[in-house]
């Protein structure tokens, strides 16, 4: 029997429900990904919490894997060095945060752009030890990057202050507010 002329034409199967098709494709990919992850977990193992967090018991995160010459320095170890003229504390935080409060006598080399200028490294060339710090609510990315750049520039002994400024203040070690007095 012929269909009446005014009957609606059937929609092509390929375009009938594009949203359903896309969702089905996405679901398949996620399921395959989960199966692959399960297989990988069985064959290669899944990183344990201890392995992941074992080296990060404090607020500062992972060590500088790419730069083994840059070492951590603990708060108690860093405090006596504040009185040593051959040691420079370098604050990696933005200028306004630095001015709100910083380690006494520290210089500010903000890591806003992820780079440092030649003047800063040249100014620090005569320094025996450099200690970088930032706010460590995370993995100390700024102080680590700054330390890496300073080590790359040829400075001999660069360390990253574990715990950064928050721990320094918690320990009630000397701090001051205001603009940088000795910035390069």
């Amino acid at each position: 029997m012929a269909a009446p002329d005014d009957a609606p034409a059937p929609r092509p199967a390929a375009t009938a429900r594009p949203l359903t098709r896309v969702l089905t494709e996405a679901a398949r990919l996620v399921v395959v990904g989960a199966l692959l992850a399960a297989a990988s977990g069985i064959l290669r193992g899944v990183p344990t919490t201890t392995a992941i967090l074992g080296e990060t018991p404090t607020t500062c995160g992972a060590p500088l894997q790419a730069r083994p010459e840059v070492a951590w320095i603990e708060q108690g170890e860093a405090r006596p060095l504040l009185d040593d003229a051959q040691v420079t504390f370098v604050d990696a935080r933005p200028r306004d945060v630095f001015e709100a409060g910083h380690v006494t006598g520290a210089v500010n080399v903000p890591m806003d752009t992820g780079a440092i200028d030649a003047a800063a490294t040249q100014w620090m060339q005569g320094t025996r030890t450099i200690i970088t710090y930032c706010d460590t609510n995370g993995d100390c990315a700024s102080s680590k990057r700054l330390a890496g750049l300073l080590a790359e520039a040829g400075l001999p002994d660069v360390r990253v202050l574990r715990g950064g400024m928050p721990a320094w203040l918690e320990n009630q070690y000397p701090a001051e507010a205001g603009p940088c007095r000795a910035c390069p």
């Binding site: 996405a26 398949r28 990183p47 992941i52 995160g61 995370g138 990315a141 700024s142």
Partner: protein
């Protein structure tokens, strides 16, 4: 008022080029992001942990699963098998990552984004958020455009047939 969307007005060749370009660019990014993470899942798990979003027991499984899903999405986009589904997964992932970055910035968390594992360290910033949103926008042509398809719709679908 004629209901003519902007995208379908592109010529068929332009649409094909746009979809292919978006697919290849996204595939390159996803495969490039997956490989270093697959090589060092512990480091990637630490990167995830720095966002302070994921409970510790989920870090390991996520560090194994996410790069595999990224790799799968990359392969699907290159081969064209389930490409639209892959674009949808990519879109959701990119927007989720951007959301994670925004919350980190809002909470003052200073961290590397971990976007490309240890291969390309980049501190989370407005730039990394914008980069993710740009990549998310690249998913849209793959999702909504049919490469080479001829747009047979009349310019004004409200006009009566034969008018």
């Amino acid at each position: 008022m004629p209901r003519v969307p902007v995208m379908p007005r592109l010529p068929a060749k332009g649409r094909t080029a746009l979809v292919w370009g978006a697919r290849l660019a996204l595939a390159a990014v996803f495969l490039g992001a997956a490989v270093p993470k697959l090589g060092d899942p512990v480091a990637f798990a630490r990167d995830i942990d720095h966002y302070h979003l994921v409970p510790a027991p989920l870090l390991g499984p996520l560090a194994v699963g996410l790069p595999l899903l990224e790799a799968l999405v990359g392969v699907a986009l290159v081969t064209g098998v389930h490409a639209q589904g892959a674009a949808l997964v990519a879109l959701v992932m990119l927007l989720s990552f951007a959301g994670g970055m925004v919350q980190a910035l809002a909470r003052g968390i200073d961290l590397d984004c971990g976007c490309f594992g240890s291969a390309l360290a980049a501190r989370v910033s407005g730039f990394t958020v914008a980069r993710n949103l740009g990549l998310a926008a690249l998913c849209l042509p793959v999702l909504f455009l049919r490469p080479g398809a001829v747009d047979a719709r009349p310019e004004d679908s409200s006009a009566p047939p034969g008018a």
